[in-house]
Symmetry: C2
Subunit: 291 residues, 2 copies
Amino acid sequence: MQDLYPTRGSTETIIDRADPVVHGTAAGAHALKEDEARYFEANGFIVFPGFFSDEEVAGFNRALEALQADNALMGREEYITEPGSDALRSIFSQHLFHPVFETLSRDRRILDKVEHILGSKAYIHHSRINIKPAYKGKSFPWHSDFETWHAEDGLPKCRNVTAWAMLTDNTQFNGPLYLIPGSHKKYVGCAGETPDKNYKESLKQQRYGVPSLQAIQALCEESELVAALGKAGTLVLHDGNVMHGSPDNISPNPRTNAFFVYNSVANRPEEPFAAKTRRAPFLCLNDYAPL
Amino acid sequence: MQDLYPTRGSTETIIDRADPVVHGTAAGAHALKEDEARYFEANGFIVFPGFFSDEEVAGFNRALEALQADNALMGREEYITEPGSDALRSIFSQHLFHPVFETLSRDRRILDKVEHILGSKAYIHHSRINIKPAYKGKSFPWHSDFETWHAEDGLPKCRNVTAWAMLTDNTQFNGPLYLIPGSHKKYVGCAGETPDKNYKESLKQQRYGVPSLQAIQALCEESELVAALGKAGTLVLHDGNVMHGSPDNISPNPRTNAFFVYNSVANRPEEPFAAKTRRAPFLCLNDYAPL
């Protein structure tokens, strides 16, 4: 299969995106409104404040607490700790471990928007809860999620979207997600061959698939950084290829978000495009049944 | 001499500040206005947007470039690199190395305010330029400057104020200073005996004199974090004891600020209150002649 998005070569490259951003049209009751679709197409993300009720958010947080307290799950590879500490940084596959997140993963209010963007049914490529602990939560460097999914999982096309719910307030102080609006229309092929079993280190601290300062500056030339801020209960949708990162959290408040990555059922993984071996299955789930 | 601010013991303690915040009254032409003095007293800091002209800022930056390019200075102990890289993190004593910063250190627009706050003439305890490089600039953990100056330099009273000029824009994205308004009225005695020659490590990454998460949460109980944001040319004054810190800078823009620490001539250093040895002289200058 042709590699539309070459990466992990000897030099960094920036090319135009080969795929549409919004692949479909509004169908379901909860599809994007016309101006929302236009905004998403132009910027690569959209924020919905107050999307979930306080009761729903409380339920998500109770479910997370249950996962955090589950000794049977602790120590599994889906549980990732912070670099240099035992604090939980991420829990993967929350939709497989807790019915509240399973239900959330199939929420029609989200799926209608996802199917609108993908122009097809979707399945879950992976899900994760990122817990950025108060005071000591570490940063995530700039990256395009899709660059990794393409290089290391073999997703051929950029036809995926991440929906994420804020489980705590995301403020300017607690390490919120920074996005480069419009960056989803460029593709940064990153320099550096993927090491074997890269993902094990990468989940704690990403080193490959990270664009240079010069690439970030180039993407920012026609754009200004935006922080995805909001109260707990905010929903964000972001294109798989939008460039994002987040600083550390020195604030006294944790920043916790639940992510669900939806891939088009027409975009199943091939062989990895720039890695010798596949990542662990929990990072690239293989249940392709449409939601 | 009685130790009004015990610290570096076996446990963390929070006590009330023993000293006034504003020691004097408005005298000079550029002293704080009444509402400014009230704001500083209550919050422990004050921000003056547009304090310096564009021409002045350009001059400061040219002077900094000259310091950065000065091979005779490179390698001196006043030049501090980032943890884990060779990038410059701080240059100390800029007012001794460049006439532009020497002039700035005696600027009456600043000194009148400093003398108002200190209720006396002032001398420079130390000066520094903090350069937080784009993309890779590391965070500074929460701390009270005065805690270190008391513990390791022997400043008996909290009668000092830092004036700093933004040499670049300080945005929410490039690792700005976070402050806890009102925290200057409490004093956190930090746990942990000061290691010998602590300052050498501390300038790259501070480990002692750092309050716990619990202390930061306590200080935030009646307060909300504030970020000191502004365009290049903004002036900030902050009390020596106000709690502050800053996150890393993953943005494509550097964040550079020039700090001048003014101590009251009536508050000369004694023996260190909680360290066996003094820090290097450039961190605690001994020219007590009033400015």
